[in-house]
């Protein structure tokens, strides 16, 4: 039976290494990308998988902690996209324009403008 734990152990080490590389790539994306939304893209995806993989790897290397580490992984998988969505929405509404190349479209700007128009209409009535 011991060989199963050996395989899990080495799989855990591999996951730790992979996760830390992705965490680094996420931070590099945060540093290099030209505007806030692209930074969120790179940061959220890479840091979510990086953190999940690192934490699961520790869970495989040290199986006594697996349950709690698994709960942390689940929490990160749910909370990280939510917080990035909240940040993207808030910064778009506060007026941070997305970086667009020629002919790029920003469909959300129309929605925000329409909502503002509805609100002013309501307040003038």
């Amino acid at each position: 039976m011991n060989w199963i734990f050996d395989i899990l152990y080495y799989a855990g080490l591999f996951l730790i290494l992979l996760g830390s590389v992705f965490l680094f790539l996420g931070a590099l994306g945060i540093y290099r990308m030209p505007d806030l939304y692209n930074r969120l893209q790179a940061g959220t995806k890479a840091s979510t998988l990086g953190a999940m993989s690192t934490i699961l790897g520790v869970g495989l290397v040290h199986p006594q902690w697996f349950v709690k580490l698994f709960i942390i992984v689940l929490f990160i998988a749910f909370s990280n996209p939510l917080s990035s969505h909240a940040l993207a929405r808030a910064s778009h509404r506060s007026g941070v324009k997305p970086f667009l190349k020629e002919g790029g479209e920003d469909a959300y700007a129309e929605e925000v403008a329409a909502e503002k128009a509805r609100e002013t209409e309501k307040s003038t009535l």
């Binding site: 931070a27 540093y31 806030l36 520790v58 902690w65 942390i72 990280n80 909240a86």
Partner: protein
């Protein structure tokens, strides 16, 4: 073998923390700094769990869980603040 892998992983995580911190210092708007904080907190959680294994202390795992919850709530509050106030 184990020590080498863990050291390489800690090196990458430290480099990631440094790059996030650079963006935090540079970031032109408050929203950029909030994005950097978000990523930094997630990298920090992974680093805490890894350090818990290195030092063999279970309490660091609890710390990572609490930090995950508080970091999430903090980012949501900052996002609401940016949406209304700037």
């Amino acid at each position: 073998m184990t020590a080498i892998v863990i050291n390489i992983a800690l090196f990458f995580i430290g480099l990631g923390l440094f790059l996030g911190l650079m963006r935090f210092v540079k970031g032109p708007t408050a929203a950029d700094r909030a994005v950097a904080t978000d990523t930094l907190s997630v990298i920090g959680i992974a680093g805490l769990v890894l350090l818990a294994y290195v030092f063999g202390r279970y309490i660091y795992v609890d710390l990572a869980l609490v930090y995950a919850v508080l970091g999430f709530i903090g980012i949501i509050v900052i996002a609401r603040f940016i949406e209304r106030a700037l």
